[in-house]
Protein backbone atom coordinates (compact mmCIF):
# COMPACT_ATOMS: atom_id res chain seq x y z
CA UNK A 1 0.00 0.00 0.00
CA UNK A 2 2.74 2.40 1.00
CA UNK A 3 4.62 1.44 -2.14
CA UNK A 4 1.65 2.32 -4.30
CA UNK A 5 1.51 5.69 -2.61
CA UNK A 6 5.18 6.23 -3.36
CA UNK A 7 4.62 5.32 -6.98
CA UNK A 8 1.87 7.91 -7.31
CA UNK A 9 4.28 10.58 -6.21
CA UNK A 10 6.98 9.66 -8.66
CA UNK A 11 5.39 11.49 -11.55
CA UNK A 12 7.34 13.72 -13.89
CA UNK A 13 7.72 16.40 -11.23
CA UNK A 14 9.65 14.02 -9.01
CA UNK A 15 11.58 12.45 -11.86
CA UNK A 16 13.20 15.72 -12.78
CA UNK A 17 13.62 16.48 -9.09
CA UNK A 18 17.04 16.37 -7.65
CA UNK A 19 18.00 19.88 -8.39
CA UNK A 20 15.17 22.29 -7.93
CA UNK A 21 12.12 20.48 -6.70
CA UNK A 22 12.16 18.24 -3.71
CA UNK A 23 9.36 16.31 -2.14
CA UNK A 24 8.12 17.59 1.16
CA UNK A 25 7.17 20.92 2.59
CA UNK A 26 8.63 23.90 0.80
CA UNK A 27 9.48 26.45 3.43
CA UNK A 28 12.09 29.14 2.85
CA UNK A 29 15.59 28.50 4.17
CA UNK A 30 15.78 29.18 7.88
CA UNK A 31 18.82 31.04 9.21
CA UNK A 32 20.15 30.81 12.78
CA UNK A 33 21.39 34.34 13.44
CA UNK A 34 23.75 35.19 16.32
CA UNK A 35 22.82 38.09 18.58
CA UNK A 36 25.78 40.02 19.97
CA UNK A 37 28.92 41.19 18.18
CA UNK A 38 28.11 39.55 14.83
CA UNK A 39 24.43 40.59 14.81
CA UNK A 40 24.53 43.85 12.83
CA UNK A 41 26.94 42.61 10.13
CA UNK A 42 24.93 39.42 9.78
CA UNK A 43 21.66 41.29 9.28
CA UNK A 44 23.35 43.47 6.65
CA UNK A 45 24.35 40.33 4.74
CA UNK A 46 20.82 38.92 5.04
CA UNK A 47 19.42 42.21 3.70
CA UNK A 48 21.69 41.82 0.72
CA UNK A 49 20.26 38.32 0.20
CA UNK A 50 16.81 39.89 -0.03
CA UNK A 51 15.49 38.93 3.40
CA UNK A 52 13.50 41.58 5.24
CA UNK A 53 15.25 42.19 8.54
CA UNK A 54 13.41 45.36 9.60
CA UNK A 55 11.32 43.47 12.13
CA UNK A 56 14.36 41.64 13.46
CA UNK A 57 16.18 44.91 13.98
CA UNK A 58 13.18 46.49 15.69
CA UNK A 59 12.50 43.63 18.10
CA UNK A 60 14.96 43.02 20.92
CA UNK A 61 12.96 40.34 22.62
CA UNK A 62 11.31 38.35 19.87
CA UNK A 63 13.48 35.41 18.81
CA UNK A 64 11.64 33.69 15.98
CA UNK A 65 10.73 35.45 12.75
CA UNK A 66 9.22 32.49 10.95
CA UNK A 67 7.85 34.37 7.95
CA UNK A 68 11.28 35.70 6.91
CA UNK A 69 13.13 32.55 7.96
CA UNK A 70 15.22 34.00 10.78
CA UNK A 71 15.68 32.73 14.31
CA UNK A 72 17.98 34.66 16.65
CA UNK A 73 20.04 33.19 19.48
CA UNK A 74 23.37 33.26 21.33
CA UNK A 75 26.27 32.58 18.95
CA UNK A 76 27.20 29.40 20.84
CA UNK A 77 23.71 27.97 20.28
CA UNK A 78 23.88 28.34 16.49
CA UNK A 79 25.67 25.00 15.84
CA UNK A 80 23.14 23.21 18.07
CA UNK A 81 20.16 24.43 16.04
CA UNK A 82 21.87 23.84 12.70
CA UNK A 83 23.09 20.34 13.59
CA UNK A 84 19.57 19.31 14.60
CA UNK A 85 18.11 20.76 11.41
CA UNK A 86 16.00 23.27 13.37
CA UNK A 87 17.73 25.82 11.11
CA UNK A 88 19.11 25.07 7.64
CA UNK A 89 21.90 27.64 7.75
CA UNK A 90 23.59 29.54 10.52
CA UNK A 91 26.17 32.22 11.10
CA UNK A 92 28.57 32.00 14.01
CA UNK A 93 32.21 32.63 14.89
CA UNK A 94 34.99 30.19 14.08
CA UNK A 95 35.77 30.28 17.84
CA UNK A 96 32.40 28.63 18.50
CA UNK A 97 32.99 26.00 15.80
CA UNK A 98 36.43 25.16 17.16
CA UNK A 99 35.04 24.78 20.68
CA UNK A 100 32.15 22.61 19.42
CA UNK A 101 34.22 20.59 16.94
CA UNK A 102 32.07 17.49 17.50
CA UNK A 103 29.01 19.15 15.93
CA UNK A 104 28.00 17.59 12.65
CA UNK A 105 27.61 20.72 10.49
CA UNK A 106 29.13 21.84 7.20
CA UNK A 107 31.27 24.96 7.22
CA UNK A 108 30.56 26.62 3.88
CA UNK A 109 32.05 30.07 3.84
CA UNK A 110 34.39 32.43 5.67
CA UNK A 111 32.32 35.61 5.85
CA UNK A 112 35.31 37.72 6.86
CA UNK A 113 33.65 39.99 9.41
CA UNK A 114 33.95 39.86 13.18
CA UNK A 115 37.72 39.31 13.13
CA UNK A 116 39.31 38.38 16.44
CA UNK A 117 42.00 36.14 17.90
CA UNK A 118 41.89 33.28 20.37
CA UNK A 119 44.75 34.05 22.74
CA UNK A 120 46.52 33.05 25.92
CA UNK A 121 46.99 36.04 28.21
CA UNK A 122 48.45 36.63 31.65
CA UNK A 123 49.17 39.68 33.78
CA UNK A 124 52.02 41.85 32.46
CA UNK A 125 55.55 41.43 33.70
CA UNK A 126 57.31 38.09 34.25
CA UNK A 127 55.09 35.32 32.84
CA UNK A 128 53.25 33.77 35.82
CA UNK A 129 52.09 30.83 33.68
CA UNK A 130 55.69 29.86 32.87
CA UNK A 131 56.62 30.17 36.52
CA UNK A 132 53.67 27.98 37.60
CA UNK A 133 54.65 25.32 35.06
CA UNK A 134 58.28 25.38 36.16
CA UNK A 135 57.68 25.32 39.91
CA UNK A 136 54.27 23.66 40.33
CA UNK A 137 54.21 21.51 37.18
CA UNK A 138 50.78 22.73 36.15
CA UNK A 139 49.26 26.02 35.07
CA UNK A 140 45.71 27.02 35.96
CA UNK A 141 43.85 28.43 32.96
CA UNK A 142 40.49 30.19 33.19
CA UNK A 143 38.37 30.18 30.04
CA UNK A 144 34.93 30.12 28.47
CA UNK A 145 36.40 27.70 25.89
CA UNK A 146 37.42 24.63 27.94
CA UNK A 147 37.82 22.23 25.00
CA UNK A 148 39.85 24.68 22.93
CA UNK A 149 42.09 25.45 25.91
CA UNK A 150 42.52 21.77 26.85
CA UNK A 151 43.52 20.83 23.30
CA UNK A 152 45.95 23.76 23.03
CA UNK A 153 47.83 22.94 26.22
CA UNK A 154 47.85 19.21 25.39
CA UNK A 155 49.19 19.90 21.91
CA UNK A 156 51.93 22.15 23.26
CA UNK A 157 52.93 19.57 25.86
CA UNK A 158 52.04 21.51 29.00
CA UNK A 159 49.96 20.34 31.93
CA UNK A 160 47.05 22.65 32.59
CA UNK A 161 44.15 22.75 34.98
CA UNK A 162 41.30 24.22 33.00
CA UNK A 163 38.88 26.32 35.05
CA UNK A 164 35.63 26.99 33.21
CA UNK A 165 33.98 30.34 33.88
CA UNK A 166 30.87 31.76 32.23
CA UNK A 167 31.74 35.46 32.07
CA UNK A 168 34.47 38.12 32.57
CA UNK A 169 37.46 35.79 32.28
CA UNK A 170 39.80 38.76 32.81
CA UNK A 171 38.94 38.63 36.49
CA UNK A 172 40.57 35.23 36.99
CA UNK A 173 44.28 36.18 36.81
CA UNK A 174 43.66 39.38 38.80
CA UNK A 175 42.14 37.51 41.73
CA UNK A 176 44.39 34.46 41.84
CA UNK A 177 41.82 32.03 40.39
CA UNK A 178 44.19 31.22 37.54
CA UNK A 179 47.60 32.22 36.18
CA UNK A 180 46.45 32.48 32.57
CA UNK A 181 43.32 32.85 30.48
CA UNK A 182 42.33 31.55 27.06
CA UNK A 183 39.89 33.98 25.52
CA UNK A 184 38.76 35.77 22.40
CA UNK A 185 40.25 39.23 21.83
CA UNK A 186 39.12 41.63 19.12
CA UNK A 187 40.80 44.97 19.81
CA UNK A 188 42.63 44.04 23.01
CA UNK A 189 41.11 46.96 24.90
CA UNK A 190 39.58 44.79 27.63
CA UNK A 191 42.91 43.03 28.12
CA UNK A 192 44.81 46.30 28.38
CA UNK A 193 42.31 47.79 30.82
CA UNK A 194 42.87 44.78 33.07
CA UNK A 195 46.69 44.92 32.71
CA UNK A 196 46.79 41.63 30.82
CA UNK A 197 49.17 40.89 27.94
CA UNK A 198 48.84 38.41 25.07
CA UNK A 199 51.39 35.59 25.35
CA UNK A 200 50.25 33.24 22.57
CA UNK A 201 47.82 33.18 19.66
CA UNK A 202 45.86 29.95 19.07
CA UNK A 203 44.05 30.93 15.86
CA UNK A 204 42.24 33.77 14.14
CA UNK A 205 38.47 33.76 14.04
CA UNK A 206 35.89 35.30 11.75
CA UNK A 207 32.18 34.75 11.11
CA UNK A 208 31.38 31.54 9.24
CA UNK A 209 28.34 30.33 7.32
CA UNK A 210 27.41 26.82 8.39
CA UNK A 211 24.79 24.40 7.06
CA UNK A 212 22.92 21.36 8.21
CA UNK A 213 24.32 18.40 6.24
CA UNK A 214 20.90 17.06 5.24
CA UNK A 215 19.64 20.51 4.21
CA UNK A 216 22.86 20.93 2.21
CA UNK A 217 21.79 17.89 0.15
CA UNK A 218 18.01 18.38 -0.01
CA UNK A 219 18.06 22.16 -0.53
CA UNK A 220 21.24 22.25 -2.59
CA UNK A 221 20.33 24.87 -5.19
CA UNK A 222 18.89 27.31 -2.63
CA UNK A 223 21.93 26.96 -0.39
CA UNK A 224 24.39 27.24 -3.28
CA UNK A 225 22.65 30.45 -4.34
CA UNK A 226 23.10 31.89 -0.84
CA UNK A 227 26.79 30.95 -0.82
CA UNK A 228 27.38 32.42 -4.24
CA UNK A 229 25.71 35.72 -3.40
CA UNK A 230 27.53 36.07 -0.09
CA UNK A 231 30.81 35.30 -1.85
CA UNK A 232 30.12 37.97 -4.45
CA UNK A 233 29.34 40.50 -1.69
CA UNK A 234 32.60 39.97 0.13
CA UNK A 235 34.96 39.60 -2.79
CA UNK A 236 33.39 41.15 -5.90
CA UNK A 237 36.40 40.12 -8.01
CA UNK A 238 36.33 36.50 -6.88
CA UNK A 239 32.56 36.43 -7.38
CA UNK A 240 32.91 37.42 -11.02
CA UNK A 241 35.59 34.76 -11.45
CA UNK A 242 33.33 32.05 -9.99
CA UNK A 243 30.86 32.56 -12.82
Amino acid sequence: MAEAAADDRSGPALAQAGSAHLPGRDRPLRFAVPRGALFADTLDRLDALGLTTTEVRANDRRLLFADVGIVTMRPSDVPTYVEAGAADLGITGKDVLVEQAERDVYELLDLGYGPCRMIVATVAGPDPAAEALRRLGVVRVATKYPKTATRWFERTGRQAEIVEVKGSVELAPLTGLAEAIVDLAATGTTLRENHLVVREELFRSTARLIANPVAHKLKGPAIDAVVQRLRALDRPAAGAHAD
Binding site: A6, R25, G85, V214, K217, G220, D224
Partner: protein, 323 residues
Protein backbone atom coordinates in the same frame (compact mmCIF):
# COMPACT_ATOMS: atom_id res chain seq x y z
CA UNK B 1 17.83 6.04 44.81
CA UNK B 2 19.32 6.64 41.38
CA UNK B 3 19.45 3.61 39.10
CA UNK B 4 20.61 4.92 35.71
CA UNK B 5 21.34 2.96 32.53
CA UNK B 6 24.78 3.57 30.97
CA UNK B 7 25.17 6.86 29.09
CA UNK B 8 23.65 6.68 25.62
CA UNK B 9 21.48 3.64 26.35
CA UNK B 10 17.87 3.51 27.41
CA UNK B 11 14.84 1.35 28.04
CA UNK B 12 12.07 0.77 25.52
CA UNK B 13 8.54 0.51 26.92
CA UNK B 14 5.48 -1.09 25.29
CA UNK B 15 4.03 1.86 23.33
CA UNK B 16 7.36 2.62 21.66
CA UNK B 17 8.18 -1.07 21.21
CA UNK B 18 4.87 -1.64 19.43
CA UNK B 19 5.72 1.10 16.92
CA UNK B 20 9.32 -0.05 16.49
CA UNK B 21 8.06 -3.59 15.98
CA UNK B 22 5.72 -2.43 13.22
CA UNK B 23 8.67 -0.75 11.47
CA UNK B 24 11.02 -3.71 11.76
CA UNK B 25 8.31 -6.13 10.61
CA UNK B 26 7.68 -3.98 7.53
CA UNK B 27 11.41 -3.92 6.77
CA UNK B 28 11.76 -7.66 7.36
CA UNK B 29 8.85 -8.35 5.00
CA UNK B 30 10.62 -6.54 2.14
CA UNK B 31 14.02 -8.08 2.90
CA UNK B 32 12.42 -11.53 2.86
CA UNK B 33 10.49 -10.82 -0.35
CA UNK B 34 13.74 -9.91 -2.13
CA UNK B 35 15.35 -13.13 -0.93
CA UNK B 36 17.46 -11.77 1.92
CA UNK B 37 17.42 -14.36 4.71
CA UNK B 38 17.80 -13.00 8.23
CA UNK B 39 20.92 -13.83 10.24
CA UNK B 40 21.98 -13.15 13.82
CA UNK B 41 25.55 -13.10 15.12
CA UNK B 42 27.02 -12.67 18.61
CA UNK B 43 27.09 -9.12 19.98
CA UNK B 44 30.59 -9.93 21.27
CA UNK B 45 33.36 -10.85 18.83
CA UNK B 46 37.13 -11.28 19.08
CA UNK B 47 38.85 -7.96 18.48
CA UNK B 48 41.47 -9.76 16.40
CA UNK B 49 38.74 -10.98 14.03
CA UNK B 50 36.72 -7.77 13.61
CA UNK B 51 39.98 -5.81 13.47
CA UNK B 52 40.68 -7.29 10.04
CA UNK B 53 38.36 -4.64 8.61
CA UNK B 54 39.25 -0.96 8.36
CA UNK B 55 36.43 0.56 10.38
CA UNK B 56 37.81 4.13 10.62
CA UNK B 57 34.71 6.07 11.67
CA UNK B 58 33.10 3.20 13.60
CA UNK B 59 35.83 1.48 15.58
CA UNK B 60 34.41 -0.76 18.31
CA UNK B 61 34.15 1.34 21.45
CA UNK B 62 33.52 -1.28 24.10
CA UNK B 63 36.03 -3.97 25.04
CA UNK B 64 36.18 -6.71 27.63
CA UNK B 65 38.81 -9.32 28.38
CA UNK B 66 37.45 -12.88 28.56
CA UNK B 67 38.53 -15.72 30.87
CA UNK B 68 41.36 -16.65 28.48
CA UNK B 69 42.73 -13.14 28.33
CA UNK B 70 41.42 -12.59 24.79
CA UNK B 71 40.05 -9.15 24.00
CA UNK B 72 36.38 -9.11 22.98
CA UNK B 73 34.58 -6.15 21.44
CA UNK B 74 30.92 -5.27 21.11
CA UNK B 75 30.35 -5.13 17.33
CA UNK B 76 30.12 -1.60 15.91
CA UNK B 77 28.21 -2.70 12.82
CA UNK B 78 26.79 -5.87 11.24
CA UNK B 79 28.67 -5.73 7.96
CA UNK B 80 31.95 -7.03 9.37
CA UNK B 81 30.37 -9.92 11.35
CA UNK B 82 28.48 -10.94 8.19
CA UNK B 83 31.74 -10.84 6.22
CA UNK B 84 33.06 -13.32 8.81
CA UNK B 85 29.95 -15.49 8.42
CA UNK B 86 30.32 -15.55 4.65
CA UNK B 87 34.01 -16.48 4.84
CA UNK B 88 33.48 -19.26 7.40
CA UNK B 89 29.95 -20.67 7.03
CA UNK B 90 29.55 -20.09 3.29
CA UNK B 91 33.17 -20.66 2.29
CA UNK B 92 32.18 -22.79 -0.71
CA UNK B 93 28.68 -21.44 -1.40
CA UNK B 94 27.90 -20.20 -4.88
CA UNK B 95 27.42 -16.40 -4.93
CA UNK B 96 25.43 -14.21 -4.95
CA UNK B 97 24.52 -14.52 -1.27
CA UNK B 98 21.82 -12.42 0.32
CA UNK B 99 21.53 -11.72 4.06
CA UNK B 100 19.50 -9.36 6.20
CA UNK B 101 19.58 -8.42 9.87
CA UNK B 102 17.76 -6.43 12.50
CA UNK B 103 20.25 -6.10 15.32
CA UNK B 104 21.87 -3.61 17.67
CA UNK B 105 25.36 -2.22 17.01
CA UNK B 106 27.41 -0.50 19.71
CA UNK B 107 29.19 2.77 19.16
CA UNK B 108 30.53 5.49 21.38
CA UNK B 109 28.52 8.25 19.74
CA UNK B 110 27.66 11.50 21.47
CA UNK B 111 24.10 10.65 22.48
CA UNK B 112 21.62 12.84 20.63
CA UNK B 113 18.35 12.45 18.82
CA UNK B 114 17.96 8.88 17.62
CA UNK B 115 21.67 8.14 18.13
CA UNK B 116 21.98 5.63 20.95
CA UNK B 117 25.23 3.92 21.84
CA UNK B 118 23.20 0.75 21.47
CA UNK B 119 21.90 1.44 17.99
CA UNK B 120 19.24 -0.81 16.45
CA UNK B 121 20.08 -1.29 12.78
CA UNK B 122 18.15 -3.01 10.02
CA UNK B 123 19.94 -3.78 6.80
CA UNK B 124 21.09 -6.14 4.09
CA UNK B 125 24.33 -7.43 2.61
CA UNK B 126 24.49 -8.58 -1.01
CA UNK B 127 27.65 -10.62 -1.50
CA UNK B 128 29.08 -11.60 -4.87
CA UNK B 129 27.09 -9.17 -6.99
CA UNK B 130 29.58 -6.78 -8.54
CA UNK B 131 29.22 -3.35 -10.05
CA UNK B 132 26.18 -1.35 -11.00
CA UNK B 133 23.72 -4.25 -11.00
CA UNK B 134 24.51 -5.15 -7.38
CA UNK B 135 24.40 -1.53 -6.25
CA UNK B 136 21.09 -1.01 -8.05
CA UNK B 137 19.61 -4.06 -6.33
CA UNK B 138 20.66 -2.76 -2.90
CA UNK B 139 19.13 0.66 -3.66
CA UNK B 140 15.94 -1.01 -4.85
CA UNK B 141 15.59 -3.06 -1.67
CA UNK B 142 16.35 0.08 0.38
CA UNK B 143 13.62 2.15 -1.28
CA UNK B 144 11.04 -0.63 -1.17
CA UNK B 145 11.83 -1.20 2.52
CA UNK B 146 11.47 2.49 3.39
CA UNK B 147 8.26 2.71 1.34
CA UNK B 148 6.88 -0.25 3.27
CA UNK B 149 7.33 1.61 6.57
CA UNK B 150 5.27 4.50 5.17
CA UNK B 151 8.11 7.04 5.02
CA UNK B 152 7.11 9.63 2.41
CA UNK B 153 9.64 12.38 1.83
CA UNK B 154 13.01 10.63 1.91
CA UNK B 155 15.73 10.91 -0.70
CA UNK B 156 18.77 8.72 -1.25
CA UNK B 157 22.06 10.53 -1.86
CA UNK B 158 24.32 8.50 -4.17
CA UNK B 159 28.03 9.10 -4.64
CA UNK B 160 31.25 7.17 -5.05
CA UNK B 161 33.92 6.78 -2.37
CA UNK B 162 36.64 6.35 -5.00
CA UNK B 163 35.75 9.56 -6.80
CA UNK B 164 37.65 12.18 -4.83
CA UNK B 165 40.72 9.98 -4.26
CA UNK B 166 40.79 9.35 -8.04
CA UNK B 167 40.67 13.08 -8.65
CA UNK B 168 43.52 13.62 -6.20
CA UNK B 169 45.75 11.06 -7.91
CA UNK B 170 44.86 12.34 -11.39
CA UNK B 171 45.96 15.83 -10.33
CA UNK B 172 49.08 14.33 -8.71
CA UNK B 173 48.36 15.88 -5.32
CA UNK B 174 51.18 14.81 -2.96
CA UNK B 175 50.33 12.07 -0.45
CA UNK B 176 50.39 14.33 2.64
CA UNK B 177 48.08 16.85 1.00
CA UNK B 178 45.64 14.11 -0.02
CA UNK B 179 45.03 13.04 3.57
CA UNK B 180 44.42 16.64 4.62
CA UNK B 181 41.97 17.30 1.78
CA UNK B 182 40.03 14.11 2.48
CA UNK B 183 39.90 14.93 6.21
CA UNK B 184 38.41 18.36 5.46
CA UNK B 185 35.92 16.79 3.06
CA UNK B 186 34.77 14.12 5.54
CA UNK B 187 34.48 16.81 8.23
CA UNK B 188 32.32 18.92 5.89
CA UNK B 189 34.70 21.88 6.27
CA UNK B 190 34.63 23.56 2.86
CA UNK B 191 36.48 26.62 4.19
CA UNK B 192 39.28 24.31 5.32
CA UNK B 193 39.15 22.48 1.99
CA UNK B 194 39.52 25.78 0.15
CA UNK B 195 42.51 26.69 2.34
CA UNK B 196 44.22 23.31 1.81
CA UNK B 197 43.59 23.40 -1.94
CA UNK B 198 45.01 26.93 -2.15
CA UNK B 199 48.10 25.71 -0.27
CA UNK B 200 48.78 23.17 -3.05
CA UNK B 201 49.57 25.97 -5.50
CA UNK B 202 47.74 24.41 -8.46
CA UNK B 203 46.36 26.08 -11.55
CA UNK B 204 42.89 27.62 -11.72
CA UNK B 205 41.30 24.69 -13.53
CA UNK B 206 42.59 22.13 -11.02
CA UNK B 207 41.48 24.29 -8.10
CA UNK B 208 38.02 24.56 -9.61
CA UNK B 209 37.81 20.76 -9.92
CA UNK B 210 38.98 20.10 -6.36
CA UNK B 211 36.50 22.60 -4.92
CA UNK B 212 33.66 22.20 -7.40
CA UNK B 213 33.37 18.40 -7.67
CA UNK B 214 32.53 17.82 -3.97
CA UNK B 215 29.80 20.49 -4.19
CA UNK B 216 28.17 18.91 -7.25
CA UNK B 217 24.91 17.38 -6.10
CA UNK B 218 21.40 17.22 -7.50
CA UNK B 219 19.55 15.51 -10.32
CA UNK B 220 20.94 13.35 -13.13
CA UNK B 221 22.40 16.47 -14.77
CA UNK B 222 25.20 16.19 -12.19
CA UNK B 223 26.37 13.12 -14.11
CA UNK B 224 26.47 14.85 -17.48
CA UNK B 225 29.84 15.94 -18.72
CA UNK B 226 31.96 16.13 -15.56
CA UNK B 227 35.49 16.34 -16.84
CA UNK B 228 38.28 13.83 -17.27
CA UNK B 229 39.74 12.65 -13.97
CA UNK B 230 36.44 11.59 -12.38
CA UNK B 231 34.93 10.17 -15.56
CA UNK B 232 35.26 6.53 -14.44
CA UNK B 233 33.48 7.00 -11.14
CA UNK B 234 30.80 9.13 -12.78
CA UNK B 235 30.29 6.57 -15.54
CA UNK B 236 29.80 3.98 -12.79
CA UNK B 237 27.09 6.14 -11.21
CA UNK B 238 25.43 6.57 -14.59
CA UNK B 239 25.34 2.79 -14.95
CA UNK B 240 23.67 2.50 -11.55
CA UNK B 241 21.10 5.10 -12.55
CA UNK B 242 20.31 3.27 -15.77
CA UNK B 243 19.77 0.03 -13.83
CA UNK B 244 17.16 1.56 -11.47
CA UNK B 245 13.40 1.28 -11.87
CA UNK B 246 11.80 4.75 -12.27
CA UNK B 247 10.27 4.95 -8.77
CA UNK B 248 13.68 4.27 -7.20
CA UNK B 249 15.57 6.53 -9.62
CA UNK B 250 13.21 9.36 -8.67
CA UNK B 251 14.39 9.10 -5.06
CA UNK B 252 18.07 9.34 -5.93
CA UNK B 253 20.03 12.54 -5.50
CA UNK B 254 23.48 12.34 -7.09
CA UNK B 255 26.21 13.71 -4.88
CA UNK B 256 29.81 13.73 -6.10
CA UNK B 257 30.96 14.98 -2.70
CA UNK B 258 29.42 12.19 -0.66
CA UNK B 259 32.09 10.81 1.68
CA UNK B 260 31.17 8.34 4.39
CA UNK B 261 33.61 7.90 7.22
CA UNK B 262 33.68 4.09 7.27
CA UNK B 263 37.06 3.05 5.91
CA UNK B 264 35.94 -0.04 4.01
CA UNK B 265 33.88 1.53 1.21
CA UNK B 266 35.43 1.14 -2.24
CA UNK B 267 32.86 2.38 -4.77
CA UNK B 268 29.27 3.56 -4.75
CA UNK B 269 28.13 4.95 -1.39
CA UNK B 270 24.72 6.21 -0.38
CA UNK B 271 22.88 7.90 2.47
CA UNK B 272 19.19 8.29 3.29
CA UNK B 273 17.91 11.80 4.03
CA UNK B 274 14.52 12.88 5.27
CA UNK B 275 13.65 16.57 5.51
CA UNK B 276 12.19 15.91 8.96
CA UNK B 277 15.57 14.85 10.37
CA UNK B 278 18.81 16.82 10.62
CA UNK B 279 21.02 13.77 10.11
CA UNK B 280 21.06 10.85 7.65
CA UNK B 281 18.87 7.99 8.89
CA UNK B 282 20.89 5.30 7.20
CA UNK B 283 23.35 4.52 4.47
CA UNK B 284 25.60 2.01 2.84
CA UNK B 285 27.75 1.29 -0.13
CA UNK B 286 30.10 -1.06 -1.93
CA UNK B 287 32.90 -2.75 -0.01
CA UNK B 288 34.60 -4.87 -2.64
CA UNK B 289 37.82 -5.46 -0.65
CA UNK B 290 36.40 -6.29 2.78
CA UNK B 291 35.60 -9.98 2.24
CA UNK B 292 39.08 -10.60 0.89
CA UNK B 293 40.44 -9.68 4.31
CA UNK B 294 38.42 -12.58 5.69
CA UNK B 295 39.71 -14.98 3.04
CA UNK B 296 36.77 -14.98 0.62
CA UNK B 297 37.44 -12.24 -1.93
CA UNK B 298 33.99 -11.30 -3.25
CA UNK B 299 32.56 -7.93 -4.21
CA UNK B 300 29.73 -6.83 -1.94
CA UNK B 301 27.29 -4.05 -1.22
CA UNK B 302 24.97 -3.37 1.71
CA UNK B 303 23.13 -0.80 3.76
CA UNK B 304 21.90 -0.22 7.30
CA UNK B 305 19.02 1.94 8.46
CA UNK B 306 18.87 3.30 12.02
CA UNK B 307 15.49 2.04 13.23
CA UNK B 308 15.10 4.71 15.93
CA UNK B 309 16.01 7.45 13.43
CA UNK B 310 13.50 6.03 10.98
CA UNK B 311 10.89 6.02 13.73
CA UNK B 312 11.69 9.67 14.55
CA UNK B 313 11.36 10.60 10.87
CA UNK B 314 8.04 8.80 10.58
CA UNK B 315 6.57 10.51 13.63
CA UNK B 316 7.85 13.91 12.42
CA UNK B 317 6.29 13.37 8.99
CA UNK B 318 3.06 12.39 10.71
CA UNK B 319 3.08 15.63 12.72
CA UNK B 320 3.96 17.58 9.60
CA UNK B 321 6.80 19.33 11.40
CA UNK B 322 10.42 19.71 10.41
CA UNK B 323 11.49 20.03 6.81
Amino acid sequence: MSLPTPSGTRDFLPDEMRELRAITEALRGVFERFGYGEVATPALEYEAVLGRADLAGARPAYRVVDDHGDVLVLRSDMTVPIARVVATRYAAAQPPLRFSYVAPAYRKVRPHRGMSRELLQAGIELVGAPGAAGTAEALTVLCHALDATGLRDYRVGLGDASLYPALLSALEVPEAGRRRLLDELVAGDFVGLEREVAALGLGGEEVELLLGVPQARGGPDVLEGPPGPVADAVAGLREVRDALEPAVAARVLFDLGLARDLGYYTGAVFEVYDPALGAPLGGGGRYDDLLGRFGRPLPAVGFAVGVELLHAALTAEERGSGG
